[in-house]
Amino acid sequence: MIDFLQNWIYLTGAMALVGIGLYIVLTNTNILRIIVGLNIVDSGTNLFIVTIAWHPKSVMPIYTATNNLVVDGHVVAADPLPQSLVLTAIVIGLGTTALALAIAVKIYQKYGTLDVRKIKEEDK
């Protein structure tokens, strides 16, 4: 029962982060806050992906002198494939964040504001 709950705790955390991030993106007009929201969505996604790779009795997927991953022909490690996907996703998230921040800084220099509504007005 506790094991089962544990999985759901992580899933709830992941979903809460995705929800909070999306809420921030949808309700804010400040560009930097929107980027904060995107970052939180990314964290939630990563947590979700790592959670589905895991079960309560798993060990880490690294062979060491004391950590054997295969017992009686059964793999007891956490699934390493989603973990490697998360590595990719984290790096991609950093790239997107850096580019978004660069655009935000440039917008501030050109418009003098970070508010999406004011930018829209100035364009007209």
């Binding site: 705790i9 955390g13 909070i20 921030i24 806050r33 904060v36 790592v50 850096a98 921040l101 220099q109």
Partner: protein, 84 residues
């Protein structure tokens, strides 16, 4: 024991997310975003993913927050001029 820890961490990251929503200051929003990343990277350790945890701590919590703070400083002080 681990269940207790991870539950606390999950509550912590959700709280961090709410701080990011409701805080008036942008900087505290960003700091709480970094804390959320750090909490998530702690959860990755519990989820048997040390590789991911290290990467998230170095990149997600460390560098991306740092770049964020640099950007905020530029936006608030306007320390650059535009030549074009």
């Amino acid at each position: 024991m681990i269940t207790l820890f991870s539950t606390l961490l999950v509550i912590l990251i959700i709280a961090g997310g709410f701080v990011a929503i409701f805080s008036k200051k942008l900087l505290s929003s960003v700091i709480s975003m970094g804390l959320v990343s750090l909490g998530v990277s702690g959860l990755f350790f519990f989820l048997q993913a040390p590789d991911v945890a290290i990467t998230e701590a170095a990149i997600g919590a460390g560098l991306s927050t740092a770049i964020f703070i640099i950007a905020i400083k530029k936006v608030q002080k306007g320390g650059t001029s535009d030549d074009e």
